[in-house]
C-alpha cells in the first residue's frame, strides 16, 4: 500500500499537523550517469484541508524524466510533451487546488521542482520524482550533490547511493556537508568497481536539538569519487550500441600559460565584490608558475593595464601585480568591449614579438558583474568584435558575479572562443568560487586534442576536438557503434604536450562490458545511450546559443526537441504534463528560461478560479494579470524595453 502504518514510535508531526512518513533518496551512478529518485510520503493529520508541498532542488544540467503523485490510491502520472502542446492540454483540464512547476532557485546551480496540492484532513500523498544527469569531473573528482531539504522531521529518512564504475574506483569520499551534527552516520562500503553509500539518521538524530521539532537536515549530501586511470588513452566503454570515451591523462608536465586577467572595476564592484576579487587574485597570482606569462587589464569606463605586455610570473612580478590590484578603487561605468580588445592586443603583440613559447596555451579570464554601460553597448557587436580579433588559439573564460550580469552573453562569449563561463555569488563566497573556477583552468596539460575513430564503425559522434585539456577535468566523447559489424572499436588520440606530440591508441571489445554489467542489477542498461543523448543535447544547446541565422536556430531547436521527446526529458522545449488516470485533472511543469534581470527565485502560480485561501503563500499572481498564469517563471521583464540605459550604480 502507499503508506504502511508500521510506526517507529517517535512523533514527527509539525504544529500544522503535517507529517512526513518517509523521505527517501535512491541513486545509482553507472559510469558517471546518475539516476536519482526522490520519494516523499506525507500525511495531512489535521481535521481541515491543507496544502501539502513537495519542493525539491534539481541540479542545473539534470534532466527530469518522471514524476508521480499518489493521492489515497489515485496515481497522477507524468508524460513529456512539446511545450506548447503540453500547455494546451493543461488548459483543457486544469487540476483544482493542485499546481506543479520548475522554478528558478536563488542558488546558482539548481532549479526547484515544486508540486503542491490542497488535500482534506487525514489524506496521505506520495510524491516521487526521477531525474538524471551526467556528472563531470572537476578538480580531479566527480562530485555528486543531492540537495537534501525535507523541510521537517521524517519518520524514515534515507539516502542510498550506489556507484558502478567499470573503470574501477580509486576512492569514494563523503564530506560532512550536512554539518558535524551528522558526523559518523554515513556508511560507505567500497569494492574494486562498486560502492554503496548509506545515510539513515533516526528521528532523534534529525532533530536540531534533543527537544526540538525542527529538522537539522538542510543542505547538500555530497558524494565525491574518482576512478582508476591506468591507460593514458583513457577508457572506451561500449554497451548497447553506443560508446563513451573518457580521456583524462595524468602525470604530464603542465603547459606554460600566457594569461590575461580582465577585471571589471566599475562602481558596482565597490565593496564586498572587489574585496573578494582582490583576495582571490592574490592567491591566483601566487599560484602562477615561473614559466607562465601574465598581465592584468582592469576596466571601468576607461581601460588600464598593470603592464602593457606579458610579463614572466616571477615572484617579484606577481608581488607587484598583487599590490597594483589591491590599490584599485572601483568607480565609474563598464567598458567591456575596449577591455577585451586591449587584452587581445597584448596577446597578439606578444605573439608577433615571438615572446610566446610555441607549446604554451593562451587564455583570457574576464571577471565582470554587470553589462556594458560605456563604449560599445550592443552585446552582439561586442561578441563580433572579439570573434574578429581574437587569435584562433586563444581561449576566453568568463566569470559573472551576481545576478545583474547578462549571463547568456558571457556564456556565448566563452563558448564562441573555446572557453567556458560560470556565474558566481556576489557575496562572501566570491573569492573561493573564483579560485575554484580558476583552478579548473590553471593546469593545461594538453592542447589541440583530437579523438578519431575508424570511418564507418561509428556515427553521430559528439564533439571530438578540443582546444585544451586541463588537469583535473575529463574529455568525454560519445557516439553510436555499428555493433553488428564491428567487434573491436579503435580510437586514435593526437595531442600536443609540454614538450612533445602525443599519439595514443585504444582498442575496445564491443562486448567488453556485457559480462560485467549483466551481473549488476543496479546498473542502468541504457547508460551509454543516455550519456550520449545528454552530451548531444547540451552541445546542441550551446550551438543554438551561437547560431548565426534563424533558420539554423530552428533546425537545431527541432533536433533538441526530437531528442528530448525520444528520451522523455524536460528541456527548454518540452514540458511535463501530470494527469490523473481519467485525464480530467492536469498539472504542468516546464523549465524556466534564464532571467536577464532579477535576482529572486521564480514563483509558481495557481489557476485563478482557485483564488481562495488555498493559494500557496509563495505564489501570489499579480492583481493586474487576469490572464491564466500557467506554471512558468515569474512575469518576465519583456514588457519593459529590452535595453535600459542605467548608470552603473543605480
Amino acid at each position: 500500500s502507499t503508506l504502511n502504518d508500521e510506526d517507529s514510535g517517535e512523533s514527527v508531526e509539525g504544529d500544522d499537523k503535517i507529517s512526513i512518513y518517509s523521505y527517501k533518496v535512491r541513486s545509482t551512478i553507472t559510469s558517471r550517469l546518475v539516476n536519482t529518485m526522490i520519494q516523499s510520503k506525507v500525511e495531512n493529520k489535521a481535521k481541515h484541508s491543507q496544502n501539502l508541498v513537495f519542493d525539491v532542488q534539481i541540479p542545473k544540467g539534470a534532466f527530469i524524466h518522471n514524476f508521480t503523485m499518489n493521492i489515497n490510491g489515485i496515481t497522477f502520472t507524468s508524460s513529456i510533451r512539446e511545450r506548447s502542446a503540453a500547455r494546451q492540454q493543461y488548459a483543457q483540464a486544469r487540476a483544482k487546488g493542485k499546481a506543479a512547476g520548475i522554478v528558478r532557485s536563488s542558488a546558482l546551480d539548481t532549479e526547484n521542482f515544486k508540486a503542491e496540492l490542497n488535500v482534506p484532513g487525514g489524506m496521505k500523498v506520495q510524491f516521487e520524482i526521477h531525474y538524471q544527469e551526467a556528472i563531470r569531473r572537476k578538480l580531479g573528482s566527480y562530485e555528486y550533490i543531492i540537495p537534501l531539504q525535507p523541510g521537517r522531521l521524517a519518520k524514515h529518512l534515507e539516502v542510498d547511493v550506489r556507484i558502478i564504475e567499470p573503470q574501477g574506483l580509486r576512492y569514494v569520499h563523503v564530506p560532512n556537508s550536512l554539518g558535524d551534527h551528522f558526523a559518523g552516520i554515513t556508511t560507505i562500503s567500497k569494492g574494486e568497481k562498486k560502492a554503496h553509500v548509506s545515510f539513515k539518521p533516526t528521528v532523534a538524530q534529525q532533530r536540531k536539538c534533543p527537544t526540538c521539532s525542527a529538522t537539522a537536515v538542510d543542505g547538500n549530501f555530497v558524494v565525491m569519487y574518482d576512478v582508476q586511470r591506468e591507460p593514458k588513452a583513457g577508457e572506451l566503454e561500449i554497451f548497447n550500441g553506443y560508446f563513451i570515451h573518457y580521456f583524462a591523462p595524468e602525470n604530464l608536465d603542465p603547459l606554460p600559460k600566457n594569461i590575461l586577467f580582465v577585471i571589471d572595476v566599475s562602481g558596482s564592484m565597490w565593496g564586498l565584490k572587489m574585496k573578494q576579487t582582490v583576495e582571490a587574485m592574490k592567491t591566483i597570482l601566487g599560484d602562477l608558475r615561473p614559466e607562465d606569462q601574465f598581465s592584468i587589464v582592469d576596466f571601468n569606463h576607461n581601460v588600464r593595464s598593470w603592464r602593457d605586455d606579458l610579463v614572466a610570473a616571477t615572484p617579484s612580478q606577481t608581488e607587484d601585480a598583487k599590490k597594483y590590484i589591491q590599490e584599485i578603487h572601483p568607480t565609474g561605468g563598464t567598458n567591456i568591449n575596449e577591455a577585451l580588445l586591449r587584452a587581445i592586443f597584448i596577446l597578439k603583440e606578444a605573439s608577433n614579438l615571438k615572446m610566446l613559447d610555441p607549446n604554451s596555451v593562451s587564455m583570457i579570464v574576464l571577471v565582470s558583474d554587470g553589462d556594458p554601460t560605456v563604449g560599445e553597448l550592443k552585446l552582439t557587436t561586442i561578441q563580433k568584435n572579439v570573434k574578429q580579433n581574437i587569435p584562433e588559439d586563444v581561449s576566453l573564460f568568463s566569470l559573472g558575479i551576481g545576478f545583474d550580469v547578462d549571463y547568456d552573453f558571457l556564456e556565448r562569449l566563452a563558448h564562441e572562443n573555446h572557453g567556458m563561463a560560470q556565474r558566481i555569488f556576489g557575496s562572501q563566497e566570491t573569492s573561493s568560487q573564483m579560485k575554484k573556477f580558476y583552478n579548473q583552468v590553471s593546469t593545461p596539460l594538453l592542447k589541440k586534442v583530437e579523438i578519431n575513430y575508424p570511418q564507418g564503425s561509428v556515427s553521430d559522434v559528439t564533439q571530438n576536438s578540443f582546444h585544451n585539456y586541463f588537469g583535473g577535468s575529463e574529455i568525454v566523447v560519445a557516439g553510436k557503434v555499428d555493433s553488428n559489424n564491428v567487434q573491436h572499436l579503435q580510437s586514435l588520440i593526437t595531442a600536443t604536450a609540454a614538450n612533445a606530440e602525443i599519439v595514443l591508441e585504444t582498442l575496445a571489445d564491443v562486448e567488453g562490458l556485457d559480462e560485467f554489467l549483466k551481473k549488476e542489477e543496479h546498473a542502468d542498461p541504457k547508460f551509454t545511450e543516455k550519456l550520449w543523448a545528454y552530451l548531444t543535447i547540451n552541445q546542441l544547446m550551446a550551438e543554438r546559443n551561437l547560431a548565426p541565422t534563424a533558420a539554423l536556430k530552428r533546425n537545431i531547436t527541432r533536433s533538441i526537441l526530437q531528442m528530448s521527446l525520444d528520451h522523455h526529458i524536460v528541456t527548454p522545449f518540452t514540458a511535463m504534463l501530470i494527469e490523473n488516470p481519467e485525464g480530467d485533472e492536469r498539472m504542468l511543469a516546464d523549465s524556466p528560461k534564464d532571467q536577464k534581470r532579477g535576482c529572486c527565485s521564480g514563483t509558481l502560480s495557481v489557476a485563478p478560479n482557485n483564488l481562495d485561501k488555498s493559494i500557496p503563500s509563495w505564489a501570489k499572481p499579480t492583481p493586474t494579470s487576469e490572464r491564466l498564469l500557467s506554471a512558468r517563471q515569474a512575469p518576465t521583464m519583456s514588457a519593459i524595453k529590452q535595453h535600459i540605459n542605467t548608470v552603473d550604480n543605480d
Binding site: 591507460p231 588513452a233 608536465d253 588520440i493 604536450a497 612533445a500 602525443i502 591508441e505 585504444t506
Partner: protein, 244 residues
Amino acid sequence: PHFIIYLQKSQENICFNIDSEPGDILNLVSDPESGVLVNGQLIGAKKREDKKLATYFGKIGFYFKHKGLKVEISTETITLKDGSYSTGLSWSDTGSIIRKRLLVSVKKDSSVTITVDTEISFLVLLHRVWKNHPVNVDFLGIYIPPTNWFSSSAHGLIGQFMSEPEVRIYNERPGRDPKKPEATMEVKGHKLTVTSGLQKDYRTDQVFGTNVHCWFVHNSGKGFIDGHYKDYIVPHLYRFLRNP
C-alpha cells in the same frame, strides 16, 4: 643479462653473460661523436636461487645529445625528457610520443620502438612475469640493429661491435658436455675456448622466443669485449663511457 652479438661479415653469433650487481649501470652504446648513449640498469631477482642472485635489465636509458632528448624505459613507464619537461606513457598504453624527429612508439604490455630521424630504430621488449612469482621479476630486453649509423669511435658492451672485429672460429671439437661442442676462437689477438650454445631471440615470440645458435664466450665475455666488463659500469643512467 644475456648478450648476443651478430657478426655480419663472419656470419656468426657470439654470446656472453654479464653477472653484475643489482643497481649497477652497464654502458651498452657510447658514441659521443654521434651523440648517442644507451645504458642499462640492473635489477635483482626477488631472492637467490642456488646461492646466486639473478640480475636483469630493469631500466634502460637512451640519450640523444644532439637533440637534447632522453628516453627512460622501466618496467613501469616510458618517459621522454626534454630539458625540464617530461612526457610519459605507461606500459598499459598504446601510442607514441614525437619530439624533434624522435618517435617513441609503445605497444601495450609488449614493446617500445625508438626511431631516430626515421633512420635507425631501437627496440625494447618488456618481459612480464607473474606478479606473485617467488623469484622472477619483470625485466627488459634491448635490440640494436647492425648499422653504420654510429661513428667509428662508438663503444660500449654492444657499441664496440658496430665496427666488426676480425673473428676466426676453428677446431670444433666435442666439449665436456657431449651436447655442447667447443671450438677455438681468435679475436682481438686473443685465443679463446668457446662453447656452442643456444640463446633466445624474443623479437618474434615474446614468451617462448626463437632459438639462436651462438658461440658462448665464458667469464663475462673476457677476451671478446675490450677490457673487463666492470670497465663498462657507469655512475648514472646518462653518463658516457669515460675513455674506452
